[in-house]
Amino acid sequence: MDHDRCGSSSESKGVLPLKRIIYYCYGGAHSSVMAAAIHLGQLPMDRVPALGELRKIGDLDHTQSEMIGMLHFQGVDTEGNEVYTLGVGAEPDLVITSVQSMIVAIGGDLKNYLFRSSLPYINLQAKIGGALSRRYGWVGLGRKVCFRGILSSYDQLIAFVKQTRTKAGNG
């Protein structure tokens, strides 16, 4: 899977002048929300947060399945880039390709977008917990399993967000 999707004419240049960073995952409820929260400084980049800090992230484990495909504006980062989260379902490559060509069709510029797949940066425990909570409605158990999984893969999320910030020109 291609985890870094942006305008092909700009990809070779490395650092891009981007304005809209879209973190996407299956449901838009966990890994993308975590990545956005770290990116925007709502969660720390230098340590693993406490469980209580995760609970303060409003969208984390709250998106319903019918909200897949809805673009959630999460905030503006220190460099002025807009940060969004998006659930793309089970066909991420197809959906992102479609979104990229629709942007061109409606007159947008792909150089203004950075699409980042965050799903590979949480572990299996977080994914299972997320599915228990969101898909099967076992919120109590699922959230507990999911949050612990997220915390144990937090370092990967930090590295991913740092990489994203670099690509976006935030250093």
Partner: protein
């Protein structure tokens, strides 16, 4: 200027055929031969190498722009995102005709 997207599930074959009729690349006055359909599909960019891509069927000098797209199993998701992208980019939704060919295939005026 009107912009039309024909879309259908899977690789979008129905959508491509409909877009080919809409742009005059398949005849309206008779049923095309299978080889004509195959040739027109190939010339129109079907199947797209990139799944989900909006393939422009109309020529660049056409006033009205026609696209075709296969949406896989993600039709609703793509439609959702389209509405948000229209807002972000400030395009006018009234310029667009979004046609779900899977829904329309049995209606009068549609070819299948």
């Amino acid at each position: 200027m009107k912009k039309t997207l024909f879309f259908s599930k899977g690789d979008g074959k129905k959508a491509f055929i409909q877009a080919l009729y809409a742009t005059g690349r398949l005849p309206h006055d008779r049923k095309p031969f299978p080889h004509e359909v195959d040739q027109a599909l190939k010339a129109g960019g079907y199947p797209s190498g990139k799944k989900g891509e909006w393939v422009r069927i109309s020529d660049s000098f056409d006033e009205n722009v026609v696209y075709a797209c296969g949406t896989g199993q993600s039709k609703e998701i793509i439609n959702h995102i389209w509405l948000y992208m229209m807002q972000i980019e400030g395009d006018n939704p009234l310029q667009w005709i979004m046609t779900d060919v899977d829904l329309q295939a049995n209606q009068k005026g549609f070819y299948h």
